[in-house]
Symmetry: C2
Subunit: 289 residues, 2 copies
């Protein structure tokens, strides 16, 4: 949205930095080459949601159905910017759903493949779903976008205290609910909640693949729990429930159980039509802090 | 618990019907033979949680770590009682966590293997976790066990209206919160909630593998939403957060988003020490009803 509000025309689905940086090239049946962009890193790690979008696009090409319905990812080793290969397998091709597996590999010094992340996913056609909706869930209580706070207007006027986070920050329209931003000024709320308006900085609207980025793009709830440092994801499962309407998304992330050095993060993503478009849950290691 | 309350000594972990029916036999490196018992069927389908426990035990043997921390299962084809083979793969063996994959196959008329369910899982050692607990989640509000209602004392004096469900029902101590039992007497609450006390009928206490059964053992929340019929699981991911204390478990299942012919079911399992021992979420097809 940042650029959309300037003189530049907004990017479109299929023609945006996100689309270019998540492009996969068919090498041979089921095998795709990719280049992990340095533009989606937090600290020195490539964002897990960005990696999920890459894997999601490869499976969308390999499977007979186009849209991710449920994607389960187990993170194995940290990814770094640079070349990668995604190997996919069609596990089952059904009438309304198909299931596939994909692994993303990078290369060690000797050129041997090192597996970074493995995914099991079931795909379908979101446009073929019924209109039946009986949702009791309510959109997150978040102030208007204009009242929320982004990286360049942090409450103390500084950048948010995430060293090296600027790469991905520059590509996101991320406006945090001030009531979940205490951590940024050294006063965490103690509640495991994070809420934000989310978009891509170049104005590209959301689609099922960008939703895979959205569910893992906010600061970790552990910051509001007073824990500094990295919260590495062990496993992240995302349900895409409908095709998002154009415009900024509302994202809420909640942690209810921090125990034994691990925590869960539940994410909900709502679109401008007040529909719950994605639900995700991850298990992550809690920071020592 | 049913038998525990009679003259029979309660079964123990390792020596119970659940342990016998989830036993896997090493055929060759990473490959296990199993026999799916008809004792854990609902209608004509083998319960998905029972299948998960079988896969969990095979991975517990194949991986260097003993306990499932997070298990992601994608259900491919309906399982039937009878012989099965589980093929496992060690994806990554780390210091505190290891990740594995397992598939359960049965055989078609020609004897060819048909894949029923595929699992990605990360294992660790629950006994090695820190005691740090900062849980804001609260145990489910459920009446005392003596005020809840089981299969043999359904409100209208009949068996619950799940044809053919008696096989698994006889093996579970399942006492439902009367406020989530309206469906059993034709008066569903319209809320996507189901709560129950859970145990194994022979008194065997819970462990991480039986928790994989527990998260998928209650009647579907869709019954309380007024929808009759089958709610087949597409994907089910379970986090085991600590080793459960002895005694009956409290289980709450919640559905917040029934839309487009699919619904999510979130399960929480609490032990007698008031600890949140397991969290799960599944994506399932909503009944047409």
């Amino acid at each position: 949205m940042a650029q959309a509000s300037s003189q530049v025309l907004p990017a479109t689905i299929g023609d945006s930095e996100f689309d270019r940086d998540t492009a996969v090239t068919l090498r041979e049946a089921g095998v795709y080459d990719a280049e992990l962009s340095a533009g989606w890193t937090i600290i020195h790690a490539v964002n897990g949601g960005y990696l999920l979008a890459l894997l999601g696009r490869a499976l969308g090409d390999a499977l007979p159905h186009p849209d991710p319905f449920t994607v389960s990812a187990h993170y194995l080793t940290p990814s770094v910017p640079g070349p990668a290969v995604i190997r996919t397998q069609v596990v089952r091709a059904g009438r309304t759903l198909s299931t596939g597996q994909a692994s993303l590999f990078q290369y060690d010094e000797s050129g041997a493949e090192v597996e970074r992340i493995r995914v099991l996913a079931s795909y379908g056609d979101l446009d073929a779903l019924t209109d039946d909706v009986r949702t009791t869930a309510k959109p997150p209580a978040i102030p208007p976008l204009s009242h929320c706070i982004g990286a360049t207007d942090a409450p103390d006027g500084s950048r948010p205290p995430i060293p090296g986070s600027s790469a991905i920050t520059d590509r996101l329209m991320l406006k945090l609910d001030p009531t979940t931003l205490g951590w940024a000024v050294g006063a965490p709320s103690g509640k495991g909640e994070m809420r934000a308006w989310f978009g891509l900085a170049d104005g590209r609207d959301a689609d099922p693949f960008s939703l895979l980025l959205t569910v893992d793009a906010l600061p970790p709830t552990s910051f509001e729990l007073g824990l500094k440092g990295w919260t590495p994801t062990v496993e992240l499962t995302t349900h895409i429930r409908c095709r998002p309407a154009p415009g900024p998304l509302r994202v809420s992330i909640t942690t209810r159980n921090l125990a034994g050095g691990f925590l869960e993060e539940d994410a909900e993503v709502w679109d401008t039509a007040d529909r719950l478009v994605a639900q995700s849950r991850q298990l992550a290691r809690a920071p020592r802090g």
